[in-house]
């Protein structure tokens, strides 16, 4: 019997109901006559403290609050890929058909379509003994994702009936018999939203997650299963960077969580993913993407849960043996949602009003990333990589959300307002960013080129030297520097403008595969070596700067992927001929 209580108090998104004895913490309840979705977050005597996932305007004391007996669950099964969900996993596409263009309250939809039939092909047969996590069959969900149907965690036994056919997510595809107790298996399973999914063993990430963004892949590489953050003031490029990663990353599946951000931005992502194609497979990007959109004008409490929804989905696909990337924009809005709920509960606040558990919540979110061996058979590895943006007030990184995040993550892409002002994109600071994965993915890179480590190190040193020289230039001017410093500044500038700068909107340059990135950077470094020799033999840097090779180097970005090899080869050949001198005439 469902527990029915009454509204006792309403304050913002927090409702207190009485007569709720027998409910459980995190139970989902229907609040008020409009049946708004809420979740119990505390119990005191017969009173339940409820956070409501929809606007509470108009609620009255005495309206009913009905328990569902269930905690908040995520529906997992075919039909998620390509879908768009709000924070509580209502399909926004279905809502558009059901209630129109505006999100009126109390609407309900299933996360997974109940009518659609999926073609299921078993990979086990009747009589097979299976355990939790075992793959028992597959469903072609999209052209890019083969959905692996797994025995839900907590179940095991002997397969009784199983057969190939077309099923809805709720129809029984197999019967599992455990010591006489029969459980029907379905394409859909459910998992508590706030609870991490289990795995066998965890490994340190060591394979490059190819993002196609040069400064990331080459200088501050991210690894499959890693955790990273992008802090930056407004307009520095957090969203564009995350969108770029969600577009081009060479993963199996990406999850884009828009948490408390802009509606127009979400529209832009949704439209572009319907048109753009994955470079490796040439399939539409939306075939490998799940969207979660809880924009800043949607209810704050749903922002809080949307992050857990996203990471639970990521873990579920990880458990199939896939490499999954989750990007969350912005974790600061998530933290603010916690702050707002905390204030309504009259909790004692920590720094800047954030709840004292801010750090542990952030940590437990990022900790759900990882490269693991999955539960069940066949043996397989999967990974979930997590990248969160951070929006520090006033671009001041000393604030609590940035600081708590820095303690957790292993790669930092620190965005620089000064670079944004001069439109150097991406604005990832080469002086402040870092990646702890650099050493472990070194092996991966060395399969592309043995020079990688050397080129990377030299580049970082050149950029650091440039920064040091910059202070001197401001005092004495660039002309007063010795020749070798002038050359260094010239090359550093080439690295910045011709390699690090990468427009997300350039038709070719938007995605730079690792081989291409390596060709580009090693060409610049090679130019440095040749130019150094020239300088040593007496040529002035002002003459070197006139070299026709320089504009050719800066055009590398425009060269289509299939022509870049030839282009760079001829550039190198000319460079080795020492053309700097001959063609360098003023």
């Amino acid at each position: 019997m469902a527990i029915t209580g009454r509204i006792w108090r309403v304050s913002g998104p927090v409702v207190i109901a009485d007569d709720m004895r027998g409910s459980q913490v995190y139970e989902v309840v229907d609040v008020g006559e409009q049946r708004l979705t809420g979740e119990i977050i505390a119990l005191e005597g017969d009173k339940a403290v409820i956070q409501v996932y929809e606007d509470t305007v108009g609620l009255r004391v005495g309206e009913p609050v009905v328990g569902t007996g269930e905690i908040l669950m995520v529906e997992l099964g075919p039909g998620m890929v390509g879908n768009i969900y709000d924070g509580v996993q209502r399909s926004l596409i279905t809502m558009m058909d059901d209630i129109g263009d505006f999100l009126t309250r109390g609407a309900r939809t299933h996360a997974l379509d109940r009518e659609k039939k999926w073609h299921f092909t078993p990979t086990v047969k009747a009589g097979d003994v299976v355990e939790e996590g075992d793959i028992i069959g597959t469903v072609p969900e999209t052209g890019l994702i083969e959905h692996k149907v797994m025995v839900p965690i907590g179940l095991q036994g002997t397969i009784r009936n199983i057969s190939e056919g077309d099923f809805t997510v709720e129809e029984t595809i197999a019967i599992l018999d455990h010591k006489g107790k029969e459980s029907p298996l379905k394409l859909m399973q459910r998992w508590p939203a706030r609870k991490p999914r289990i795995y066998k063993q965890r490994f340190f990430p060591e394979d490059l997650l190819v993002t196609g963004t040069r400064i990331i892949d080459y200088l501050f590489p991210l690894a499959l299963g890693g955790k990273a953050a992008i802090p930056g003031g407004f307009g520095t490029g957090k969203t564009v960077n995350l969108q770029q990663m969600a577009r081009w990353s060479q993963t199996h599946l990406n999850i884009y969580v828009g948490c408390g951000e802009r509606g127009n931005e979400m529209a832009d992502v949704l439209y572009s993913f319907k048109k753009l194609r994955d470079p490796a497979t040439d399939r539409l990007l939306q075939e490998k993407e799940i969207f979660i959109a809880n924009t800043s004008n949607m209810p704050v409490v749903a922002r809080e849960i949307s992050i857990y929804l996203g990471i639970t989905m990521a873990e579920y696909f990880r458990d199939m043996g896939y490499d999954v990337l989750l990007v969350a924009d912005s974790t600061s809005r998530w933290a603010e949602a916690m702050r707002e709920i905390g204030a309504r509960l009259e909790e004692t606040p920590g720094e800047e009003g954030f709840p004292t558990y801010l750090g542990s919540r952030l940590a437990s979110f990022y900790e759900r990333s990882g490269r693991v061996t999955c539960m069940g058979r066949p043996e397989r590895m999967g990974s979930a990589t997590v990248i969160g943006s951070v929006s520090p007030p006033g671009a001041d990184f000393s604030e609590p959300v940035t600081q708590s995040t820095l303690r957790i993550i292993d790669a930092l892409y620190s965005l620089d307002v000064a670079l944004a002002n001069r439109r150097h994109f991406p604005t990832i600071s080469w002086l402040q960013s870092y990646s702890m994965y650099a050493d472990s993915v070194d092996k991966w890179w060395n399969r592309i080129s043995k020079d990688y480590t050397d080129v990377r190190n030299r580049t970082l040193i050149i950029l650091q030297n440039e920064a040091d020289l910059e202070e001197i230039v401001r005092l004495v001017g660039p002309e007063a520097l010795p020749e070798d410093d002038k050359l260094l500044l010239l090359v550093a500038r080439m690295i910045r403008e011709d390699f690090l700068m990468q427009s997300a909107y350039h038709p070719v340059d938007t995605y730079s595969p690792p081989e291409r990135s390596h060709k580009m950077l090693s060409t610049i470094i090679r130019f440095y070596d040749v130019a150094k020799e020239m300088a040593e033999s007496g040529m002035l840097v002002s003459e070197i700067a006139q070299s026709k090779l320089i504009p050719r180097i800066s055009r590398m970005k425009d060269i289509p992927h299939d022509q870049i090899d030839d282009y760079v080869n001829s550039l190198r050949t000319d460079m080795d001929k020492g053309l700097i001198a001959e063609e360098g005439g003023i």
Partner: protein, 464 residues
């Protein structure tokens, strides 16, 4: 919500009146956030809102404060409704106060409908990305920080800077290229001086646009609480015109700083724990609930474009009002005191300014094929020149190389010919791009790294 009240819901059981709050014994049926009338013993009536409702007590915030409220004679009348705006096509050409009452001497609005001033969030999946270029005729905007339909693009200003002039110029000049369509202007004056409000209205009158405009006026002397409702009334009117009447609506909200200060004042009266500089922790969400009402909806003709204006206290762009706005809007037009001192109008700081919706609105079919390249190259040139200007203040410009000197004068020319223009000058986007190309002609062709060669051939004038 019940439309008919069968019994009056009023009470005299006020137990505490403190700051702007009344604590009242609850009566059945009170709705969270509903509006109340507070009738004072003096006969005066004030508006209030239920900000917390419990079984035993209800908390009401009184707009205008609790002075003269006495616990014996004052009465609270619950209205059962949130604040609503009566709408009909007749609202065009009308002027209202911050409670939605006409103040232009005209007749009351015969309502077709009553709309909740808080609006309803658009389904993100129903939105259409803004992409239509609005030509404002101002080079610093059209060339480098393009405004598109459905965008929210604020002006970050400082006291004494000509933000009103610029906003009025945009209102006067803004048009879609080659199209005359149904458009409307909604203007919300929030706590501004009477003169500022009058400036906009007379501007609209002069251009004959007043019949296509709606004003909501809350001047500095109007009730503070209505600073919160004024922009919401304006946005509700805008949404009505856009989504129900298929119009393209440009909304001016000025001054958001007054709005935020009112928000802070009321939060403090409730005894809330403040966040940065005393502003409430939910200010981001609160501002977003307004700014996010801009946009386009797939399958609907109209659009809502919002131009909020704010004055940055102390010219500080990291101040929470500017900062949180920048975190929500799709870019910002930032005015610079430095340029103003150089007598450059409009004094738009193009480095701090940004339009995030630009890429969809420019290029072939929208503006011109070379627009994106010109945009990027302009920034590169101006940034370089600006940097050299900085170091030359220490080392003197003689110490620069010849190449560097060219950049230095390019930056000057950029400010004097590109950014600067007359208040009544309307430049086409071709003229704007042409000015940029003239500046590029000062440089070596090889330095135009960010422009495709075919455009250089096509558009670069011979060096003068």
């Amino acid at each position: 919500m019940d439309s008919v009240q069968l019994f009056t819901r009023q009470t005299k059981a006020i137990s505490i009146a403190h700051r702007s709050l009344l604590i009242i014994e609850s009566i059945p049926g009170i709705r969270y956030n509903e509006i109340v009338d507070v009738q004072l013993g003096t006969g005066e009536t004030r508006t209030g809102q239920v900000i917390e409702v419990g079984k035993k007590t209800t908390v009401v915030q009184v707009f205008g404060g609790v002075s003269e409220v006495d616990l014996q004679n004052s009465r609270v009348q619950y209205k059962g409704e949130t604040l609503k705006l009566p709408v009909s096509p007749d609202i065009l050409g009308r002027i209202f106060d911050g409670s939605g009452t006409p103040i232009d001497g005209g007749p009351p609005i015969v309502a077709e409908d009553y709309l909740d001033i808080n609006g309803v969030p658009a389904n993100p999946a129903s939105r259409m990305p803004p992409a239509e270029f609005i030509e404002t005729g101002i080079s610093a905007i059209d060339g480098l920080n393009v405004l598109v339909r459905g965008q929210k693009l604020p002006i970050f200003s400082g006291s004494g800077l000509p933000h009103n002039k610029i906003a009025a110029q945009i209102l006067r000049q803004a048009a879609l290229r080659g199209k005359a369509e149904d458009f409307a202007i909604v203007f919300a004056a929030i706590g501004v001086s009477y003169d500022d409000a009058a400036y906009f209205i007379s501007n609209l009158e002069e251009t004959g646009a007043l019949s296509r405009a709606i004003g909501f006026i809350n001047t500095a002397s109007s009730p503070v609480i209505e600073r919160l409702s004024t922009p919401r009334l304006a946005l509700t009117a805008a949404e009505y015109l856009a989504w129900e009447q298929d119009m393209h609506v440009l909304v001016i909200l000025t001054d958001i700083t007054n709005y935020c200060d009112a928000l802070r004042e009321l939060a403090a009266m409730r005894g809330e724990i403040p966040s940065r500089r005393g502003y409430p922790g939910y200010m981001y969400t609160d501002l977003a609930s307004m700014y996010e009402r801009a946009g386009r909806i797939a399958g609907r003709e109209g659009s809502v474009t919002i131009l909020p204006i704010l004055t940055m206290p102390d010219d500080d762009i990291t101040h929470p009002i500017a900062d949180l706005t920048g975190y929500i809007t799709e870019g910002q037009i930032v005015l610079s005191r430095g340029l103003e001192r150089k007598r450059i109008y409009p004094p738009i700081d193009v480095f701090l300014s940004l339009s995030r919706m630009m890429k969809e609105g420019i290029g072939e079919g929208n503006t011109r094929e070379d627009h994106n390249n010109v945009f990027m190259q302009s920034y590169a040139v101006y940034a370089e020149g600006n940097y050299l200007r900085e170091i030359s203040t220490v080392i003197g410009s003689e110490a620069l190389s010849d190449r560097d000197k060219v950049y230095l004068s390019a930056a000057d020319r950029f400010e004097r010919t590109f950014i600067s223009q007359a208040e009544h000058e309307r430049r086409s986007v071709e003229e704007t791009l042409g000015i940029a190309w003239n500046i590029f002609s000062m440089l070596h062709k090889e330095d135009l790294k960010l422009i495709q060669e075919e455009y250089i051939k096509k558009y670069l004038p011979e060096p003068s």
